[in-house]
């Protein structure tokens, strides 16, 4: 097993006619992801990589009723609309690649997602991958190989380096999830940690956070109760205050969102802290050995 996506899950792409969405739809198909169709309002009837394009998500689902995941690639000003369209049409997992979605828009999206019991991942997520089974988003397949470590990170590149270093150390991933770099996210660390805890094919979890917001701190109490080892890494120890570092969410606001506060909260609740990315594989190995003894 894996979490959220597996070899059978059917995927649609909102904004499929855009340059990036179209390119990565091709990569997803090449990887074996069951992409069944796309949506771009006003371009219904076209074809992209032989996939049908629809005007609305509802029409797309009418033709492909088994589609369970939508990936959203539209520009930020259309993101709220696209995510709500997916949720209202009945999609239960929405993977939002779009970055820099206005904060108030995401608050509204979160509210609707909760009401309709939908999982929204992102904004500004690179997507997620269950190696060898399915890839939704824009992660480079070369970074990942199948295994029993679950990873969850806010940043795309960190997700890739993380998996890459696990692989070089002879391990692999059950699923790697990118939470996204925006300040208000759909799914947070705790949501994904719960899924990994329940997944029989995940033995340990690596979580990589960064400065800004409180999602790492919010996950800390749950880590105390989790049975599987959690190795945690926080980026931004050397970050200046009051300046956004690329990700809209990566900013120390007043005293909120510092690396120290996150590391402390995680450490106190039993997470194994990695000082640098390269320590992670060794820490995961040690944790797994410790568990077996």
């Amino acid at each position: 097993m894996s979490i959220i996506i597996d070899e059978n899950v059917q995927v649609i792409v909102q904004g499929i006619t855009g340059r990036n969405a179209s390119l990565h739809t091709k990569f997803m198909l090449d990887y074996g992801t069951k992409v069944v169709g796309g949506v771009t309002p006003g371009k219904g009837g076209e074809k992209i990589h032989d996939l049908p394009v629809y005007d609305t998500v509802a029409e797309c689902l009418k033709e492909h009723p088994a589609a369970a995941v939508s990936s959203v690639w539209v520009p930020p000003r259309f993101a709220k609309d696209a995510i709500l369209e997916a949720i209202d049409a009945g999609i239960k997992t929405v993977v939002v690649i779009t970055e820099r979605i206005p904060v108030h828009d995401m608050l509204f999206v979160r509210k609707r997602a909760k009401e309709k019991d939908a999982l929204v991942i992102g904004g500004n997520t690179p997507g997620l991958i269950s190696p060898g089974k399915s890839l939704v988003g824009m992660l480079p397949k070369i970074a990942f190989s199948g295994g029993r470590v679950g990873t969850v990170a806010r940043s795309g590149a960190i997700t890739y380096y993380l998996a890459n270093s696990l692989n070089l150390a002879g391990m692999g991933e059950s699923t790697s999830v990118g939470l996204g770099g925006d300040p208000i996210l759909g799914a947070n660390f705790e949501d994904v940690l719960r899924l990994f805890e329940e997944d029989p094919e995940t033995d340990a979890v690596v979580m990589a956070g960064e400065i800004g917001g409180v999602y790492e701190e919010l996950a800390a109490p749950y880590i105390k109760t989790i049975k599987k080892p959690v190795v945690a890494f926080i980026a931004g120890k050397a970050a200046p205050k009051g300046k956004r570092l690329g990700h809209a969410g990566a900013i120390i606001e007043g005293n909120m969102g510092t690396a120290e506060s996150k590391v402390e909260a995680l450490k106190e609740n039993g997470a194994i802290i990695a000082e640098t990315l390269s320590e992670i594989p060794e820490l995961v190995k040690e944790a797994l050995c410790g568990k077996q003894q």
Binding site: P140, S155, L168, A235, A239, L245, H247
Partner: protein
């Protein structure tokens, strides 16, 4: 993105939130438009401005001129005073606190009020009884009755209660209408002659929502850091749409996506080096933008070496390689570039480098591009060595 006090008060005026009569000083002729005595407030993004010397008083135009001249250009806790807000002095009877913000834990907007204003909210919050919190549903507005009932809880009565109720409604409308992360009035004052006035303003906008508030730009509100102005290089970067922050060191960082950019600054410091900047060079930049990024780093006189990394996800290795090669051919840089490239379209990218090196070996002698099997830490350590 924090607004200056005077900008926040311009928004307050649009919402009929009373503020003192004032002028923002660029030229001294404006000083005839206010009644003395006045308060001179240097516009800087710090708390406790009085203690830091950013706030002065003047009883006459002449005194105001002298003191404004002293204030302008002064650097207070790292922020230069470029504007002074001149406000008519009000006689304060009592101070209160009002704000609308987002609770990042509950993902809900909330109003915070207190009948003990004037101090930083962190100070007020030390006495939990002194604070009243009211959560709102997303999409909900503050109805007038709610404004009044909160004003009552702050122990306002009669006319003052009605006025404060209206201000609470207006404050929340401003918060929603302008996509704010925070609107704070601290202090809101009751004057000796019974007026209610917003004496200070703190407005924090969502930069990502600025596209739907074009009128703010017409008000002269420009892109800036969350707190503080951009440096010259940061302004160039901003214009080109490149997320970039100046730091103090000598290693130019060309890292790929933002998350890895943040981690690479940590790593460089961890191994004893000094990053010259933060940069987000991910998000599928065009080749032109990639060349601009390299140029931005190369042109920084402090930079001795560039550390680069590309883990191609949405940003492809071949695009990256083409941009680096073209930059080198056009600009013949002397500074070394120590880089690593892996991910989507890696092989295509590698071929581009190999061909360029074959044809122009002299130009590329200081440029190294490692593969995915070299740990990033090794690449960083080598860059640090070049910076010493």
């Amino acid at each position: 993105m924090r607004l200056y006090e005077y900008e926040g008060k311009q928004l307050f005026k649009r919402y009929n939130i009373p503020t003192p009569n004032s002028v923002v000083v660029g030229d001294f002729s404006e000083l005839d438009k206010v009644v003395y005595p006045v308060v001179l407030k240097g516009q800087v993004f710090i708390g406790r401005r009085g203690k830091a010397g950013a706030i002065q008083f003047a009883n006459s135009k002449k005194e105001a001129e002298t003191k404004i001249k002293e204030l302008l250009g002064r650097v207070i806790h790292g922020y230069e005073v470029t504007k002074v807000l001149v406000e008519e002095k009000v006689e304060i009877d009592r101070e209160f606190y009002l704000s609308a913000t987002i609770d990042r834990t509950k993902h809900k907007p909330l109003l915070i009020v207190s009948s003990e204003g004037g101090m930083e909210i962190e100070e007020i919050a030390k006495k939990p009884d002194a604070i009243i919190k009211h959560y709102l549903e997303i999409g909900e507005r503050v109805e007038p009755y709610l404004g009044r009932s909160i004003a009552r809880k702050m122990e306002f009565k009669g006319d003052a209660m009605l006025k404060v109720g209206n201000i609470i409604v207006a404050l929340y409308n401003l918060f929603l209408d302008y996509d704010c992360k925070l609107v704070e009035i601290n202090p809101l004052v009751l004057t000796a002659d019974g007026k209610i006035i917003a004496l200070d303003s703190k407005v924090d906008l969502d930069e990502d929502a600025m596209y739907r508030h074009k009128e703010l730009m017409q008000m002269g509100i420009e892109a800036r850091h969350e707190i503080g102005e951009l440096t010259k290089r940061e302004k160039i970067a901003k214009k080109a749409g490149i997320p970039y922050v100046d730091l103090d060191g000598d290693i130019g960082v060309f890292p790929g996506g933002a998350g890895f950019g943040i981690a690479s600054i940590d790593l460089i410091k961890h191994f004893g080096g000094n990053p010259a900047n933060f940069m987000d060079s991910g998000g599928a930049p065009t080749q032109e933008r990639l060349r601009l990024m390299i140029g931005l780093l190369m042109d920084n006189p402090k930079v001795k070496v560039i550390f680069g990394a590309r883990f191609g996800g949405i940003s492809r290795c071949d695009d990256w390689a083409k941009a680096v090669v073209q930059y080198v051919l056009e600009n013949r840089p002397q500074k070394p570039m120590i880089m690593r490239m892996a991910g989507n379209m890696e092989e295509e990218g590698r071929k581009i480098f190999e061909e360029a090196i074959k044809e122009h070996s002299e130009l590329f002698k200081n440029i190294k591009v490692y593969k995915f099997d070299t740990p990033i830490e090794e690449v960083i350590k080598e860059a640090i060595k070049e910076s010493i």
